[in-house]
């Protein structure tokens, strides 16, 4: 206990230095926490699972994937042909059609804030198949289910993320007309029926797929010709399977089916698909992981080492006195290390906690567009990581000064004093 008191007293002896070291640590831990959050999210998205897998079916050779809507029903079932073939249950599939539109009819008046990209899908699948939304629980899930039900009941409904809603200067219950960017001549009159739960889908939107289909039918009735996108309107089919064995079977069923020849399709895990997209950002991700993070941690260790070594140098006489009073060299070493750890842990913890609260609750995520991810949130694990980084760098930075404290020679110090 006395030992602990001594540590605290030493920390409080030069409050300015302690404050500066803690502030420096906090700033750098904040950056480490942010970068780690982005990297860990991307890692989670690209790590292959062995159970409860999500598969994506897309056009085999081209990007963007554009398949005829006639593929949708068969692909959603996993393309079973034989009695023993596996059939995907309705709740375990979802189709996506991308609809990009602007609230401005005149292209010259369009700005990023007036543009909306929406998934056209079967409304119930929002709650059962969309990543993260299918894992909601409690009151958030119940609230979102009400929004989904409203979209299912209203073909012209629109569910939109809160951030996008703010950019559009709209509110729930409001109406807007979207002039399509990727479906020439199509405009959709939509009613905002609700918002996504805060998080990943803050900038996204979802519409009823039947409304998009009927808008294309209407185009044909009005112009007398089929819409040019009619055979390329299905972008993606999601399937959920139990394990890798089921995945292999479904992939075999689909890829060998004669029904998908023009265009051909491919089946892959969602993580594999995302990894292919992220390949273009290879250098950036490598740089963040192997250059930025280590360099920041090094700077952090250097700042702590500097502060602790200054502190040890200033206290050589006191350390010599402690030795005379019976403190063993290793106790002095521990004293210095514990001081550094106390600063590192408290600064690391408070910085990571502040980053977690500020980014997630204050800013509603950190905006860093990479592939199709636009916003990142700080997971709670980052708070633990921040504390560990603070502790680790404090330990690394204090080893040499602590060794120096341990090696203080009483005779030399008192000779100088004398």
């Amino acid at each position: 206990m006395k030992y602990l008191t001594l540590i605290l007293k030493n920390i409080r002896r030069n409050p300015l230095r302690t404050l500066l070291t803690a502030m420096g640590t906090m700033m750098l831990v904040c950056v480490v926490t942010l970068i780690w959050s982005v990297l860990s999210f991307l890692d989670r998205q690209t790590s292959e699972k062995s159970q409860n897998l999500k598969l994506i079916v897309t056009e085999r050779w081209q990007l963007p994937s554009q398949m005829p809507l006639s593929y949708a029903d068969i692909l959603s079932k996993g393309a079973p042909r034989e009695p023993n073939d596996l059939t995907i249950a309705d709740r375990d599939s979802m189709t996506w059609q991308f609809f990009g539109g602007s609230t401005e009819e005149d292209p010259r008046n369009r700005s990023p804030d007036s543009i909306l990209f929406a998934f056209a899908l079967e409304p119930p699948k929002l709650a059962t198949m969309m990543d993260e939304l299918d894992e909601l629980g409690g009151s958030v899930a119940a609230e979102f289910q009400r929004v989904v039900d409203k979209l299912a009941a209203n073909r012209q409904g629109l569910v939109v993320g809160q951030s996008r809603l703010d950019l559009l200067k709209q509110k729930v219950g409001g109406r807007l007309t979207l002039f399509s960017l990727n479906y020439p001549g199509i405009k959709l009159d939509l009613e905002i029926v609700g918002t996504f739960p805060p998080g990943r889908y803050d900038l996204s939107a979802a519409i009823h797929r039947d409304y998009l289909s009927s808008a294309m039918d209407q185009y044909e009735r009005e112009t007398g010709r089929r819409h040019p996108m009619i055979d390329r309107t299905l972008n993606l089919v999601w399937l959920r399977v139990k394990d890798r064995q089921e995945m292999a079977q479904v992939a075999q069923q689909i890829e060998s089916s004669p029904q998908f020849r023009n265009p051909q399709v491919k089946v892959e895990t969602a993580s594999s698909g995302i990894a292919a997209f992220l390949e273009a950002y290879r250098t950036l991700i490598w740089g963040m992981r192997w250059l930025l993070m280590p360099a920041i941690i090094t700077v952090l260790a250097v700042i702590i080492a500097n502060a602790i070594s200054i502190s040890v140098r200033e206290r050589r006489t006191e350390l010599a006195v402690l030795k005379v009073l019976g403190f063993r060299p290793n106790q002095l070493l521990c004293l210095v290390v514990m001081e550094a750890l106390a600063i590192g842990v408290s600064a690391g913890l408070s910085s990571a906690l502040a980053t977690y609260l500020l980014i997630n609750l204050g800013f509603g995520g950190v905006t860093f567009p990479i592939a199709f991810f636009s916003k990142f949130f700080i997971p709670w694990e980052a708070v633990v990581l921040g504390t560990i980084v603070g502790a680790g760098t404090a330990l690394a930075g204090s080893v040499v000064p602590a060794w120096s404290a341990r090696s203080v020679k009483v005779s030399e110090v008192f000779a100088k004093v004398a």
Binding site: R17, R60, W61, P112, N182, V299
Partner: protein, 448 residues
């Protein structure tokens, strides 16, 4: 001739040196006093310099990445070219132009001609999924390749001002050639950008091609697999520094046949001058009624792909700012320690006649010297990445589209200037408070 960037660099470095020199001249405290203090406390000085070096070095590397992207988008495209895509498209990849729309464009006045042939390239651009033949265990199983089908390779080369490396040729009229002797199947002829050739050459450990060993990239005669067919490289484009560097070109009808993409995506027309190009783009945008289209002077189109660069720049600035603040706290610690160790010195100096301003100057000078050395070392180390290859995506930054590009990291005078200025500012801000504290010390209190 000195470029604007060089002038900026000279300006930044000059300002830093002038700042230090002015302080040295205006301060009556001899400069060697400061040097000696820094060398006596060499461990503390060194640790602070290391922190500065890392912060500025990282900033240099990060900015060189964005600079490489910026250079790429700036040097892609010609101001005498007009690029046309369909009205609803946000990017070439989403464009769809009918043959009627395209043929209507190429006969318009203002487009340069070579004999009877208008210098107008009709193209189909698409992004292709390529399964990686022997993927690394942890790596992705496929990659995206950018394929451009052109109707007439010679015309396309003239319009885009692209040349081939010696030993290469443009694809034949048929666009295919006989495969290996023991293989009846024909192979598709393709011309490849240098960057794409380097990227695909990364699988060299699997292929062990002689060309990859010699050149670090694929070369004429090498084959790749794409769209279920074998493709033979018949030429490598001298395309470094443009987005074409990451593309593969082939005969357009084969793109339609293999990938089922029948429509054109892009028309690029060559005009006699930039003024003529501007006029043509305006005409196409406002008065062309054959099909709904968008027309850009090509340089404006590529400038619009700098949205990603801006997003990255903002992110880098945020990271650099937070790191810089951390560095400032570091140097504050050092300077406060320096002052607390020399309180008696300060008292003596004040007693023998040095003014408060001279004391302030002396300590500021120390702080700035540390910052200067750290920043210069950081710039120097950061410069080592100059010329290295990297991959990224350039796009409008509004989602949808974007081009995967292979770029070179560029450390230029502008970046070095920013690094030096940030370093000096960090040193100034970090030194100001401690130096101010030293200045306010009362002589008798200090020596007591």
């Amino acid at each position: 001739m000195l470029t604007e960037a060089t002038l900026r660099w000279i300006g930044g470095l000059g300002a830093a040196i002038v700042c230090v020199c002015l302080l040295a001249i205006s301060g009556a405290v001899p400069l060697r006093y400061n040097f000696r203090n820094l060398t006596v406390r060499w461990r503390t000085t060194l640790l602070t310099v290391i922190a500065f070096t890392f912060v500025i070095g990282l900033l240099t590397v990060m900015l060189s990445f964005v600079n490489g992207m910026q250079r790429l988008t700036e040097s892609s495209g010609r101001d005498t070219n007009v690029l046309v895509i369909s009205a609803s498209a946000t990017d070439e990849a989403f464009s769809s132009l009918t043959p009627e729309a395209v043929s209507g464009i190429e006969n318009l006045p203002g487009i340069s001609r070579e004999g009877e042939q208008p210098l107008c390239s009709r193209e189909t651009y698409l992004v292709v999924n390529q399964p990686i033949e022997q993927p690394r265990s942890e790596g992705p199983k496929r990659r995206f390749l950018q394929l451009r089908g052109v109707d007439n390779a010679e015309i396309a080369a003239r319009v885009h001002e692209v040349r081939l490396h010696p030993g290469g040729s443009w694809f034949s009229a048929a666009g295919v050639q006989q495969g290996d002797a023991d293989d009846d199947e024909t192979v598709v002829e393709a011309v490849i950008g240098e960057g794409a050739a380097r990227e695909l050459g990364r699988d060299a450990s699997n292929w062990q091609r002689d060309s990859v060993k010699a050149l670090g990239r694929l070369d004429v005669g090498d084959t790749i697999s794409m769209g279920g067919r074998r493709w033979r490289i018949v030429g490598v484009m001298q395309s470094a520094g443009s987005t074409m560097d990451s593309e593969i070109w082939t005969y357009r009808p084969l793109v339609a046949f293999i990938f089922g993409k029948q429509s054109y995506t892009t028309v690029v027309a060559r005009c006699a001058s930039s003024a003529a190009a501007g006029k043509l783009a305006q005409f196409l945008e406002k008065e062309y009624k054959v099909a709904p289209i968008k027309a850009f002077v090509e340089t404006a189109y590529y400038a619009g792909l700098s949205g990603t660069n801006q997003q990255f720049t903002v992110a880098i600035m945020v990271v650099a700012f937070v790191m810089a603040v951390g560095g400032v706290f570091g140097i504050m610690n050092t300077m406060f320690a320096a002052i607390s160790q020399r309180i008696k010195d300060i008292g003596v100096m004040r007693i023998i006649g040095f003014s408060r301003t001279q004391i302030l100057t002396s300590f500021m000078l120390e702080s700035l010297l540390i910052a200067f050395v750290g920043a210069a070392t950081g710039c120097l180390l950061g410069s080592l990445v100059h010329g290295l290859s990297a991959t990224s995506v350039v796009g409008s930054g509004q989602g949808g589209g974007g081009k995967t590009v292979v770029l070179k990291l560029v450390v230029d005078s502008g970046i070095l200037s920013k690094g030096m200025i940030l370093g000096i500012v960090m040193g100034f801000v970090g030194g100001l408070l401690p130096a101010g504290g030293a200045m306010r010390l009362k002589p008798l209190d200090a020596v007591r």
